[in-house]
């Protein structure tokens, strides 16, 4: 009886989802939580478009001569897949969805520092996405997501301008999001929330925001110069009319290598939260994990040349970039070891988000270590532009970032919607994704060393067996992503009431109702303890 009354009370309680209704109340909202939901819907849509392109690619590669499309179409498929997945899914995924939702809540604030700017950045994202979809509908772009000159600026007959404009525009969305987060973390922390009481998620996103703000403008300039060469026929990057094609690559990777860390640093933040919550302990080596984020953000700016080992750059430049690339592996390693050590003598549960986190640990380790192959000069000469590279960065981007995004989404889903999803299905999906992922991408490592090149619409027949294996894995992976889409939507209506803290986790976001009220907290919280202050027993004394 009293339970029913309590439930009725939660339902009639006013929270951010039911305080107002109608399209306008969403499209003009300045609430960071609603903006997070807007982002979630938009990036899920873009993810589906990018995933369709990937599916078609995997079907094409079932046969050496190409199963379904002409090489020209295939080029457009991988280009749109890359552009959408990088700029319209991975970069905004964790920062713009989970970050937007959680940063103010984790630090005890009512909103981000500039709520209107936050909404503006979503609109900018949408405008950028419209350019990309326009490009896609009116014939696509075939340069690959890297837009290498002079192919993009002179030779390609596809819609390079539309795609470049979309990427140029969405960059400003990233910049504004990063700016907002930096100011929010600096100026909006609740009383008592000192820097070393911040959850590690905040540290990672803070480091990410710095990279966003510093790197993205360079991409904008680079793409605008490329577009100018295309339109005005002035030799900026095309040597036939007096430019330098390598300069484009330098500028592009000066942004795009840090962009890799824009995609993976937030994932590391999510993993810290998940590991702590499901082992009910403080993350081992908090300070080491926090500062390694900054080490990564810093070194990220110094390693772009490792994308150009075979581009005709000098031997000495190659060696310097190689050494720095090895250096960037160290802080990532430190993080993995610290997370693993957190599990030691923890109280570890097998909830679905934890399974995603464990999947991340394994796949990220594998992806990171295979990065050492590519940082090593003489091996990179052989592996550059082969499927080994594809496998490596998918282990980081999909095995790492997407796993973390899925884990984070499951972990905070009850907070966002007030509902629980069916845990068995969630665990099943996590396993399916893990298995499908490995089946898809592990064979690609072998393919790469054998000499199968990326961006190949047709390929030598001896590579068929491994390609078929990879495509089979991709279909399992596709099913794995489809299941959560179904049960998460289902849970919004039919899921059990979650209550404020279904996982008994620590953190300010769990101290308020689910879903939270518009202003997040009934009254401003005062922080008196460190992050992850789970009840623990003292260490057993060895005799």
């Amino acid at each position: 009886m009293s339970v029913a009354v309590a439930e009725l009370a939660t339902r009639s309680r006013v929270h951010y989802l039911n305080e107002s209704y109608g399209v306008k109340s969403w499209l003009l909202t300045t609430d960071h939580k609603r903006i997070a939901i807007l982002y979630m819907v938009s990036i899920t849509f873009m993810f589906l478009v990018g995933a369709c392109a990937a599916a078609l690619m995997r079907i094409q590669l079932l046969e050496p001569a190409g199963a379904i499309v002409q090489p020209e179409t295939y080029n457009k498929l991988f280009s749109i897949h890359g552009i959408i997945m990088v700029w319209f899914f991975l970069i905004p995924s964790i920062p713009a969805v989970l970050g937007n939702f959680l940063i103010p809540m984790m630090i005890g604030a009512r909103d981000v520092a500039f709520p209107k700017l936050n909404l503006l950045s979503w609109y900018i994202y949408i405008i950028g996405a419209c350019f990309i979809l326009y490009t896609l509908i009116y014939g696509g772009v075939d340069t690959g997501w890297t837009f290498y000159t002079p192919y993009s600026s002179t030779y390609s007959n596809s819609h390079v301008f539309g795609a470049a404009a979309g990427v140029f525009i969405v960059g400003f969305s990233s910049i504004l999001t990063g700016l907002n987060f930096i100011v929010t973390v600096h100026k909006m922390r609740a009383p008592g929330m000192t820097w070393f009481r911040l959850p590690l998620f905040i540290w990672s996103l803070y480091a990410t925001s710095i990279v966003l703000v510093l790197a993205t403008p360079v991409l904008a300039i680079t793409l605008s110069l490329m577009a100018m060469e295309r339109f005005l026929h002035i030799g900026i990057f095309n040597p036939a009319i007096g430019g330098d094609p390598l300069l484009f690559q330098h500028l592009f990777w000066f942004y795009s290598h840090p962009a890799v860390y824009i995609m993976v640093l937030p994932a590391m933040g999510v993993i810290s939260e998940l590991v702590a919550a499901y082992s009910r302990r403080r993350v081992y080596g908090y300070a080491f994990v926090a500062f390694s984020s900054f080490a990564i953000a810093l070194i990220a700016f110094l390693v772009w040349g490792h994308h150009m080992f075979v581009s005709g750059q000098s031997v000495y430049a190659g060696m310097v970039f190689s050494a720095l690339s090895f250096l960037v592996a160290i802080p990532s390693g430190i993080k993995v070891f610290n997370w693993t050590a957190t599990l030691y003598k923890g109280s570890n549960s097998y909830d679905a988000p934890m399974l995603y986190a464990l999947g991340f640990l394994g796949l990220f380790t594998m992806g990171g270590l295979t990065g050492l192959f590519l940082a090593s000069l003489s091996i990179d000469v052989h592996l550059h532009d082969t499927y080994f590279v594809i496998a490596h960065f998918h282990y980081i981007m999909v095995g790492g970032s997407v796993m973390a995004y899925m884990g984070g989404l499951h972990y905070w889903w009850p907070k966002m919607t007030g509902r629980l999803y069916p845990d068995k299905w969630a665990r099943f999906a996590a396993f399916t994704i893990f298995i499908g992922f490995n089946l898809t991408f592990f064979p690609q490592y072998i393919l790469g060393y054998l000499g199968m090149l990326r961006r190949y619409a047709v390929y030598p027949a001896q590579f068929q067996a491994l390609n078929v294996l990879s495509s089979a894995g991709a279909s399992i992976l596709g099913v794995g992503y489809f299941i959560p889409l179904v049960y998460l939507i289902w849970s919004m209506r039919y899921g059990r009431e979650a209550g404020p803290n279904p996982w008994r986790a620590k953190g300010l976001e769990w101290e308020t109702a689910s879903p939270p009220p518009r202003e997040n907290f009934e009254e401003t919280p005062i922080v008196t303890e460190e992050a992850y202050a789970y009840p623990t027993r003292p260490r057993a004394v060895r005799v």
């Binding site: 604030a109 009512r110 909103d111 981000v112 520092a113 500039f114 709520p115 910049i175 990063g178 700016l179 907002n180 930096i182 100011v183 600096h186 100026k187 909006m188 703000v213 510093l214 790197a215 993205t216 403008p217 360079v218 904008a220 300039i221 680079t222 605008s224 110069l225 100018m228 339109f231 005005l232 026929h233 002035i234 030799g235 900026i236 009319i241 007096g242 430019g243 330098d244 300069l247 500028l251 202003e519 401003t524």
Partner: protein, 222 residues
């Protein structure tokens, strides 16, 4: 939260998600600084590209630089520096609570100088460049030595000064809006962060020009 009661000209000045007015003011200032850092990298990409090509194609860039008038660049530098001074004075005026008219006058002079800058840029420089067939992609005709590199120089000249001019136009727009709010009496010694933040932006635009002037006008080997 008694401070949320502070209103100016009938509107609350403390946004509801901030606890205190100083917190809000500090957030705005920090926000502008972060934005300016982004801007530095934005122009920085261009400066870096310019530097690389100047190194590679020095003769062409020297040649190109001879076609633009140092005179106008120098006058424009002076115009912008004076406008920065009047901007700073406008902030000072609202800080110490001088009459509304003083602040408005100073903002007005700042904007006027911005317009003078743009007039010199567009009418006395760009128009003449156009007449001399020095606009790459639109009207370019130069047959002397290093033609491709002179063209590249002019591309950078127009891109960099054009991007800067867009910033000046945006700055004038912001100052126009702030003048209106000043006229409506929104600002006081207690609350003036929008003007201060706009000032930061204006000075930044000025500093960019201080770099553009020598890069484009002066190091032409004169």
């Amino acid at each position: 939260m008694s401070e949320s009661a502070i209103t100016q000209a009938g509107r609350p000045i403390l946004e509801e998600h901030f606890e205190t007015l100083p917190a809000q003011e500090e957030a705005r200032k920090l926000g502008m600084w972060v934005f300016l850092i982004t801007e530095i990298l934005f122009f920085g990409g261009l400066f870096a590209t310019y530097t690389v090509y100047r190194e590679l194609y020095l003769p062409g860039f020297t040649q190109g630089s001879h076609f633009i008038e140092v005179k106008w660049g120098a006058i424009n530098t002076a115009v912008l520096i004076v406008s920065s001074l009047t901007m700073a004075l406008a902030i000072r005026s609202v800080q110490v609570g001088k009459r509304k008219g003083t602040t408005l006058g100073l903002l007005g002079i700042t904007m006027l100088l911005g317009v003078v800058f743009l007039c010199i840029k567009f009418i006395l420089e760009w128009r003449v460049d156009y007449l001399h067939h020095h606009v790459p992609g639109i009207n370019f005709d130069y047959a002397g030595p290093h033609a491709a590199h002179v063209k590249l120089f002019f591309l950078f000249y127009f891109y960099m000064t054009g991007l800067h001019a867009i910033h000046v136009i945006v700055g004038i727009g912001i100052l126009l809006a702030l003048s209106y709010l000043t006229w409506r009496g929104r600002f006081s010694p207690k609350y003036y962060s929008p003007i201060e933040v706009a000032g930061l932006y204006w000075h930044f635009v000025d500093i960019i020009w201080i770099f553009l002037f020598p890069l484009l006008y002066l190091i032409g080997g004169r």
